[in-house]
Each structure stands twice: as C-alpha cells, then as structure tokens.
C-alpha cells in the first residue's frame, strides 16, 4: 500500500500554526518566570529559550511539531526535524540532544509509516550531529511530528531577534514560497519541479547559515517559519526597537511561486499573517499585491533572516553563496524606529 499522508490534512507544516495575533494575546497573560539565568525568555518572542548554566555554557531549548506537508512519511520526518532544529541554529547554537514528539493514528495508518517518519527525523538529526535520546507518542489523528531540541551556546554569543541595529542590511538565506507551493501541490497547480525544489529547501538544515553568522559575529537573526517573512520581521523589529524596510522584489522565490500567487493560490495562513502585521506595517502605495502576499506566506523550515552590518554584507553574501546557499540575497535594511515597524515596498 502506498501511504499518502497528504490525504489526511487540510493545512500542513507551519501553516497549521495558530494565528500569531491570537498567540500574542494569550501570551500576554502568562506570568513571566523570573530567574536571572533566563537569558532569552517568552517576552521577546524569540525562536528558542536560552538558559544560562554557567559563564561558559547556556542551553538553547525549543520545540516545533506539525501535521504532514508531503505524502511520503520519511520525507515528512526529515522536514519536521529540520524545521525543529532550525530554531537552535537561528540563535547561533549547536544542537546536542532531542526528544521525538509524535501524534500517530495507529488505527488509520500502517505502523511502517510511523517507523518511516521516525527514520526521517533520525537521519536529519544525524546530519545535524544531534542525538535523539527519547520521545513520546500518543494516538491521534491526523499525525503530527516534531522534536524538542536542546543546544549548547556560549552565554555571550547568543544571536537574538533583539539584535538588529539601524544601518544593518537584511539577508535572507533561502528562497521563499513553501506555503504557496504546498497549497499549489494540493490543488495540483504546482509543477513537480517546484514541489521538488520546495522539499529540498525544507530538508536543508540552517546549519551552514548559522556557521556563517558565527564567523562574522552577527548579533541579530531569526528563522522564517509559520508567521512568514513579514511576521517574523515584525517580531524582530519590535524586539530590537527598530524599523525594517524590505524591497520585496529582491526576495528570492522558489520556482513558480509568483505565478501561483498571481493565480490566487494564497494559503489561508497568509491572511492570518496579514492580520497580524498590518497595523504595524506601511505598505508602499504601488506595492505589488502578489509580492505583498508572498511576504505573508507561512514558511516551513524557511531560511535565516539575518541583520548584518552593511560594511560586511558583501562578504557574508559571498560566504553564504560559497557554502551552498546560492540564493541568499539582501532583501532590505534596518533603520531607526519610525512611525511603523515594517515598510514593505516593491
């Protein structure tokens, strides 16, 4: 029997995330734990929490899981794991240990699919040098999978989303459009090549990007996932108390992403993300509608968005290109805090 996980879900990958607006509302009411060893907590909505162990060592701790975004269980496992590990890389950390988190409908799917998902996750973890040392599964439909990951980091070398400084240029390391392509795949509008390219990108660890960030001592970065380019940029601009200007025509795109959006293939998550950012965003008067909606597109295992001092940006870009992230591009710049946090232009 050929297993097709896509038959089981409406929204897969990070599109299944709860609305960021809603999340922000509820998080407000959660008491913030006070402990001087919490170096990065919930308050700045960063990619992962960071806890100081001693002067030399802090732990980066994060979790992510989601429903399937592709038919093949092994590939789903790989992508979910790459996405979970990404948050550690976005903070500049080195992933060390992890636990599997799995929801699996044992009465609806053969157990070999379960094994395949775990195998995909485990292979991706090996690639990252990460050891999976346990996990937890409950019976649930549709399936969901991800990891809780712990990484090491030096307490003074944390890369946060509050590290953007006016004058920095903004670099994106992977092309955008996974949400659009995955929606297009379900509607049979996306070409095989687009889907293949999107899957390759989602399986690509942000490890190389993180190494480049460390080499150049970059302070501000995040990874682009469910809240889209604009959503994650907004969180970062707020945490850094700066404004960000994006030239959306410079954003590298996967295959026919633009054409699909032009056809109206705009996933529901994009509208949720638009709701989240619009009060804090100035949209250029002639802003191309398709580009605007691409900036809202929920990414699964998306690229790193890094803020780089303008003097070294050429070196960073060429290092990224040489490391295989050949579509890395400068897509905007950071300015002093202005009336709005985000400025989106063509």
């Amino acid at each position: 029997m050929k297993i097709d996980l896509l038959q089981m879900v409406e929204t897969g990958g990070c599109s299944a995330k709860i609305s960021p607006k809603l999340l922000e509302e509820f998080l407000k009411y959660l008491p913030l734990p006070s402990d001087p060893n919490i170096l990065v907590g919930i308050d700045t909505h960063d990619d992962a929490g960071v806890y100081r162990v001693n002067d030399e060592l802090a732990l980066v701790f994060t979790t992510d899981f989601f429903p399937p975004l592709c038919s093949d269980p092994y590939e789903f496992g790989q992508i979910a794991a790459a996405n979970s590990i990404s948050d550690v890389y976005a903070m500049g950390g080195t992933p060390v240990i992890a636990l599997n988190i799995m929801m699996f409908p044992s009465s609806k799917l053969p157990l070999e699919a379960y094994a395949e998902i775990l195998k995909g996750g485990s292979d991706m973890a090996s690639e990252a040098g990460l050891r999976i040392i346990g996990g937890h599964t409950i019976d649930d439909y549709p399936p969901k999978y991800g990891l809780a990951v712990v990484g090491y980091i030096h307490p003074e070398k944390i890369i946060t989303n509050s590290g953007a400084r006016p004058g920095d240029v903004i670099i994106l390391t992977k092309p955008a459009g996974t949400g659009v392509i995955l929606a297009g795949q379900r509607l049979k509008m996306a070409s095989d090549e687009d889907v293949y390219q999107a899957k390759q990108l989602m399986k690509m660890l942000n490890k190389t990007g993180a190494e480049v960030m460390k080499k150049f001592n970059i302070k501000g970065a995040t990874d682009i996932t469910g809240f889209g380019l604009a959503g994650h940029a907004l969180i970062m601009a707020k945490a850094s108390n700066v404004s960000m200007l994006f030239n959306l025509s410079q954003v590298p795109l996967i295959g026919n992403t633009y054409r699909l959006v032009d056809e109206g293939c705009i996933p529901g998550a994009s509208f949720r993300n638009l709701d989240f950012v619009e009060n804090d965003t100035s949209f250029g008067t002639d802003l191309n509608y398709n580009l605007k909606m691409i900036a809202m597109d929920a990414q699964t295992s998306g690229g790193l968005l890094m803020c780089v001092p303008s003097g070294i940006s050429d070196h960073v870009i060429s290092d990224l290109h040489l490391a295989g992230l050949t579509q890395s591009a400068v897509i905007g710049r950071v300015t002093e805090n202005q009336e709005k946090y985000l400025y989106l232009e063509d």
């Binding site: 409406e10 929606a183 509607l187 509008m189 025509s249 633009y258 054409r259 032009d262 056809e263 109206g264 293939c265 705009i266 996933p267 529901g268 509208f271 638009l274 002639d286 191309n288 509608y289 398709n290 580009l291 605007k292 050429d314 060429s318 290109h321 040489l322 050949t326 579509q327 063509d346």
Partner: protein, 204 residues
C-alpha cells in the same frame, strides 16, 4: 449571471476560482461566488477589498454568496506597468535551455563574435517563450561578471524568471568570485542533469 459554487472546497481553491472568474470577465460584468467556509469567505473578501473590487454578500445557514462586479481597476489588465516596473516573472518558459560556452558567438573575428553574442542575449528577451534555464561554463561565465557588456540584459532575463547557472569551477578559474552579479553557482552534476533533462539545448 455566472454562478461559481465552491461549496466543499478548501482555501485557497475558492480564492483561485474567484480570481480566475474576475480575470475572465469584462468590465461591468457581475458574477456570484458561493462558499460554505468562513475562512474562505473572509479571505476572498479581503482579497477583493485589497484589489479594489466591489462586492456584496449574503449569508444563510453557513453559506455565503458573494456578488462581485468587475471594475476597471482589475489588477492584471489595468496595471501592466506595475509588472514591468517590478520586473517580476510572468513569462512563458519552454522546454529548452541555452548553453553559453564562450563570451563570443561563432568562430571568426573576435570583435564580431562579441557583438553577435550581445545581440543574441538581447534577442532572448523578445522570445515569446523563454528558455527554462541558461547555463554558463568555461569562458561563458565571464558574461556574468559586473564589467560584462551584457550584464544588464542578463539581469533582466533572470528577473523574467529564467534560472541562470554558472559553473563554479569556471568562475573560480577566471577569478570572478567577487565579480559575478547574476545567477547561482552550480556544479557539473547539476549542469549535466539540466542539459540531459532539457528537450533542446541551444548553443549560440
């Protein structure tokens, strides 16, 4: 009046159906879109508002019926300059690739060869069907350097949606790492794969 019933369909299928109907109708035409899904209803409304298209709606028992009238502000037809200005790919691409193996076209006088290559690259932009990809190897990679006389044309072709692949070994050989302003660096395996898969390989 045309009625498009998207009942039972999930986002973004109803939005795509609406967009297509909008594109295919004439200014002043009205049509109805039916959806049984609140998310799709709110996304379509948002899409229409953003694109300055008038509509009204009725809701009964969880079924939304939108009546949409096309105005001249159609985002595709009325603002072609927007597409040119933003230089976004919306061009047809065929099952062929172009391989650039040299900075000159044909054998013979070098100066003539350069001139011909410039004209060749310029002419690509006017093709009804663009190549799927363009690969550059050996001396061909120098076409992609910042001082190349055709660099602006290549940038335009890239923005039209054509992927440009440059042989990384060649870029290194000619010490162009810092100067290459287009495309992505590629390896021989990818280049072989792209050439083997293409319906036709055109070589100037």
């Amino acid at each position: 009046m045309q009625i498009i019933d998207t009942s039972g369909q999930q986002c973004p299928a109803p939005l795509i159906a609406t967009n297509h109907a909008l594109r295919d109708s004439q200014t002043g035409d009205s049509f109805k879109v039916i959806t049984d899904n609140l998310t799709s209803f709110s996304n379509i409304s948002r899409f229409l508002t953003d694109n300055k298209t008038e509509f009204s709606y009725e809701e009964a028992n969880g079924i939304w019926t939108l009546t949409i009238t096309k105005r001249t502000t159609d985002r595709v037809a009325a603002r072609p300059e927007e597409y040119c200005k933003t230089e976004i790919p919306h061009f047809a691409q065929g099952d062929f690739i172009i391989a650039f193996t040299s900075d000159r076209m044909g054998d013979g006088n070098d100066e003539l060869g350069h001139l011909l290559m410039g004209n060749f690259i310029k002419a690509i932009k006017d093709l009804d069907i663009l190549p799927a990809k363009m690969v550059f190897y050996n001396k061909g990679v120098t076409l992609g350097a910042e001082e190349s006389s055709v660099i602006d044309h290549l940038k335009e072709i890239e923005k039209m949606g054509v992927a440009l692949l440059l042989c990384a070994t060649c870029v290194k050989f000619y010490s162009l790492e810092e100067k290459v302003k287009i495309g992505t660096l590629s390896n021989m395996f990818e280049i072989v794969q792209v050439m083997a898969k293409a319906g036709n390989v055109v070589k100037p």
